[in-house]
Symmetry: C2
Subunit: 349 residues, 2 copies
């Protein structure tokens, strides 16, 4: 795996060198009140997997990487916008060991900075409205709408019981899959690739997104805080209905019954709050978190989620192999895409 990781780092670095100046230029167009918080967020940025997928998907289609640049910029701006707003929604004050935008600049600035990046993403594509870019912009609106729908379902799950694994997966397909699907195919759209190539890459990205989200759910429970940048078991503390939890709750087992009981237990004062706005979830205690962790492991939630992640990763690779059969594609880029996929999903699972 270490060889693969090094390859993946090189792929990410190559994309970063190409995309970072274009992102910086896009942010330069903002007025200072928006540019400062936007740059603050982007400086603390992650690995840049989405723009790297966008660049690779251009190369898969046999086009120069520059052809996919606007798509890479757009997907990164959308990703940034969604993180800034998600941190407000989830009340997360820290990301990558730094204060989040709202925690540093206030909720209002967080809201409006996210809005600015959201609009800027469409502008990055529509400023030169060739038919391919217009199609990419339209696909982007659909992916963003799906992402928002997934996020809103995730929020609703907090106040609901009896969620099925299928509902949970549908939520994660929207929340994470839609954008990764767009990232993995936008370069091919911009390169005017055959429909089969575009569709195959989009399918690859969708399954990759579900696999990634399943791994992320595992990290939210068993991940090392030093690596995830989040408090240990933060998802359980917040009674999050992630895949491992929902997997157990849908079994007919003593672990399921006890887990349901702990998740449902709320202090009396919280139950009395009728207003949905005020009824924030009361965090679980340290003892409860530890017990829940054991119950999920014993109830098969960890293994079940690992199986799911593997399954969707295999489906992603299968979709990529189908694309590789197409005459016109660049197989070296396909291999790099698979390497990147392994890196994305391979984290500690």
């Amino acid at each position: 795996m270490s060889g693969d990781a090094t390859d993946a780092q090189a792929i990410l670095e190559r994309a970063r060198v190409l995309v970072a100046p274009a992102i910086a230029e896009a942010l330069q167009g903002l007025n200072p009140e928006l540019r400062v918080p936007a740059q603050y967020h982007c400086d603390g940025q992650g690995k840049g997997t989405r723009p790297a997928l966008a660049i690779l998907s251009t190369e898969v289609a046999g086009a120069p990487s520059e052809v996919g640049l606007a798509g890479a910029v757009a997907i990164e701006l959308i990703h940034d916008f969604s993180l800034i707003h998600d941190d407000i929604i989830d009340d997360d004050a820290e990301r990558r060991h730094r204060p989040t935008v709202w925690a540093k600049y206030g909720v209002g600035t967080g809201v409006i900075t996210g809005d600015a990046l959201h609009a800027l993403a469409y502008e990055a594509l529509l400023c030169d409205p060739t038919p391919c870019r217009v199609r990419a912009a339209h696909e982007l609106t659909k992916a963003v709408s799906a992402m928002i729908a997934g996020q809103s379902m995730d929020m609703a799950f907090e106040h609901r019981s009896a969620i099925t694994v299928e509902q949970c997966l549908a939520m994660e397909k929207g929340k994470t899959g839609a954008l990764l699907s767009f990232a993995s195919s936008v370069g091919a759209i911009l390169a005017d690739a055959p429909e089969a190539v575009i569709a195959g890459l989009a399918e690859f990205g969708m399954h990759l997104g579900v696999a990634f989200q399943a791994v992320d759910d595992l990290l939210g429970i068993w991940g090392d805080p030093a690596k995830t940048g989040k408090p240990v078991s933060s998802d359980l503390r917040e009674r999050k209905q992630s895949v491992p939890v929902v997997f157990v709750l849908n079994q007919n087992s003593s672990e399921a019954a006890e887990l349901a009981q702990i998740y449902a237990r709320q202090p009396a004062e919280a139950r009395q709050l009728a207003d949905a706005a005020a009824a924030n979830v009361v965090p679980l205690s340290d003892e409860a978190v530890q017990r829940v962790r054991t119950l999920i492991e014993q109830g098969g939630g960890r293994e079940g989620t690992q199986v799911l992640a593997h399954k969707h990763f295999e489906l992603a690779v299968a979709a990529l192999n189908c694309v590789a059969q197409t005459n016109s594609v660049h197989t070296g880029a396909i291999q790099q895409m698979q390497c990147l996929a392994e890196f994305i999903v391979g984290r500690d699972f």
Copy 2:
């Protein structure tokens, strides 16, 4: 004026009958978690001036009103998104005598519902990407970016002194003018009207926006709470640097000195808060608000703002008259547009 108002009501009603079903259909596409708060917001909706301008601008260009429908839907969705987010930013719990979306459903739901409408607006145009619709979508991204820039400047003004009337107007051009400019010209864009018609209508809308915002600033100080739906003098209570205030502060007068002193005065505990996020503006007392109101009136801020509103209204009408000189335009629709403009700006000034 009452005859004009009746005409304007008829114009608005005609547009509403056309646009409301299309908006309802767009919202139907949202999942229930987003649809419920979005519909709640839209049910408490205002006069629908923006979609009416969009429909009229289609008719000015001699096209059937249906041609402008997607533009009317897009501008209304953007307006709704901006109101939902502005209420979070401004911490406003009430709009039109009802709880705002965040106050009813929580801040997280407010953020994501606004995001959903933002994305939906572009989708309304790009779902059928004819060259005219693509151009409209691109103009919309620019108008939204300008609106967001204006809003962020407005927020920054709260923490700054020494703002000039010009800076204040530049902010209001962005915050209100950009969207009204888009609303007033999008129908002509969709109707593929001559460039001079599109540009003239955009200029009309920009000046109308500045005039409207100046009147809105007056209403924020002297408006009747029963009509504005906001607490009396709410802008002063929040030490807002609106045009009437900035007008006085830029004079060399005793009123300016006293006004600056009252606006700058903060309780000791507020001064100690170093973090911008925590340093919310402490509201002025009832006595201070009353004194500030008198100072603005005596310092010429009320009259100066009225003059400004009149000037930009006249510039809007002049732009419209230029459009009326073009061969191809429909003068009946031009007259209706002027009638609507009078109604928009004419409120109590």
